[in-house]
Symmetry: C2
Subunit: 404 residues, 2 copies
Amino acid sequence: MMKDLLAQRVNPDVPSALSGLFPKDDDPRAISFAAGSPNEDLFPVQAMHTAFDTAMINHGAHLFQYQTSQGNADLRDQLARRIGKWGQVQTTRDHVVLTVGGQQALELVAKTLLNPGDEVVVEAPSYVGALAAFDLYAPTYYGVPLQNDGIDLNALEDTLKQHPNIKLLYTVPDYHNPTGITMSVAKRQQLVALANKYDFVILEDSPYRDLGYEHLPLPAVKAFDTEGRVIFVSSMSKILMPGLRTGWMVADGGLLTAILRARQASDLEANNIVHAAIDAYLTANDLDAHVDILKADYQRKCAAMIQSLEDYFPDEATFTRPDGGFFDWVTLPEELDADALLSDTIIPQAHVSYVPSTNFYPDRNVRNGFRLSFTGLAPETIDEGMHRLGDQIKAALHAAKPVV
Amino acid sequence: MMKDLLAQRVNPDVPSALSGLFPKDDDPRAISFAAGSPNEDLFPVQAMHTAFDTAMINHGAHLFQYQTSQGNADLRDQLARRIGKWGQVQTTRDHVVLTVGGQQALELVAKTLLNPGDEVVVEAPSYVGALAAFDLYAPTYYGVPLQNDGIDLNALEDTLKQHPNIKLLYTVPDYHNPTGITMSVAKRQQLVALANKYDFVILEDSPYRDLGYEHLPLPAVKAFDTEGRVIFVSSMSKILMPGLRTGWMVADGGLLTAILRARQASDLEANNIVHAAIDAYLTANDLDAHVDILKADYQRKCAAMIQSLEDYFPDEATFTRPDGGFFDWVTLPEELDADALLSDTIIPQAHVSYVPSTNFYPDRNVRNGFRLSFTGLAPETIDEGMHRLGDQIKAALHAAKPVV
């Protein structure tokens, strides 16, 4: 009876794209390459504690009162300057909205733009959290493949010609989730030109942009925006701490107005106490120096992951070689089903987990890949887990091969 | 062009129900009876600062990592025991979800239940934030009038008979927003019986339940729930501090599962740092003793408001006499339009504001009432503002009367 009372968007018969992030395995040997958790040993706990003290002392009681839907003006100012410096986006705090993580920004954009059935382009594969947020608004998806330098623009333009009502394109241009691929500058510029030509909105989701191991951040897609049709989203989760639950977006004009309205109706406002603490942290500390520490750590872990893929995986498996971010993407031979393997043998026998490819495709129809996250694990743990995982993949491949 | 890209739910031609909360008036004499802000002079700032310190010292780095969509288990435990003690709701932390204010809880319930056109009953008048949240999911509304002891159950049953597909009923049973009315215990029990009979979900929104000036809290509607069809929502905003952005709900069974899924897709999780601080505050302090201080303060201010209504308002205006909560409701003669009066004369000439009745009705069709909030203002300020407001109402009434 209760099931009949639920809206179609939460149909319990269709698993959420986010359901794969936390596979259940209580075994003490369990090693998870699934969720993209940052390394908490590097969290600047003492500096952030001091920043909370500073915020509470400086602001007094009013810090704890209702504030505004857009969020703390000083922090918005710092973020506007940061994306100006590192992403070449010329904007001001009046165009910045603070959100509950980047996730809320994605959900608010979907809520603001999408009527049921509206047409959306996503990269294939694409971030599970974005798919879960978009799914709430029941769009029609078109997946466009990725190349080594980002989304395939020829395939995209073919899709746009076939479906002229496409309203929204979602991209993770920097150290893409789940593949680690970065979009070239030329493609960023061409993508905006296509948005202008075919009249759609670009949702640029860039939580990893600061985490290039070897390169400085590229100009944001938003840097090439001439018509206010790119919405830029980023987050403090990957470069500071996810528990702060602070994401942010940059938007313009009528889009900004509409997003703020949807935001107010959704939760009134985010947490000003935390915003003021982040503002105090950014004022008293050098975030870029902290990010340099993260980059060195994650580069070492990424190298351990790549090495273990070379050491333990069969030649038939291919993988990306990211130079930044949190993730690596593995493609198995087509006869292997990464979903079934995970639940049938890999978790029960090897106590290792990943996120299967089905979660990253809107139609859940690509079964022979998976995402690996390496940032939260020590290199020795990565080696151990990947050894176990590689053995399982080899065994599955052997079992799948016809006996000659 | 951009306007065409927006979803219908944020149609810029229809003002949000929340738009009336912050009328613009930069005059130094401005007195706002509009937004329901608590008295920040009574915020336990030092105790909360200590609680943040405790949380950060006790939990260390892991406090700042990703946690769970349901929220801090210790705080959920404390809230489950609190609603057991004061609301006679027998529940456990497994049934509690922590949200970004009560507002997010309302939005999540609407998101979880409502397909476009689904039928919803609201009290008439009803809370603007709930209407704004529900509006995002385009329901069909039925308003049921209030009596002195809560919603008119005969009118409700007539509505249910006429519209057997009604899915959701929204009520603020305790010190109702905007009227201050409290639903009797008998009606709470009968309301649940109707929900069982006509198969709908009750969304019980009770942020003011602890703030009875003369009476202890009544059993929650949820206390009479026999089929897991009542969702109870409350908040720390009115009894502690709104800047904590911490609301909570109690739900059961498939409803709880579906709400958690919608929550994860919306913003992953709320702020565990703040949750841990509230948990530490509740452990180290007596919240009920703090609430007693609030009740004494708000009772004094409510009395000042009622006195000024008697002193300065014409006999043709009627008003409620709340014995708890944040709000009083004024009804003007039908020929007066509280919306037009506010923007045309009351703000420009008297620099006083309220929230006009149109915002509290789903069809925006009742124009001769308004909500007054008194909690954030000193009694002298209430007297001064109400004197100015009363003079404007008298003048408007005089102008509206036919010359004999």
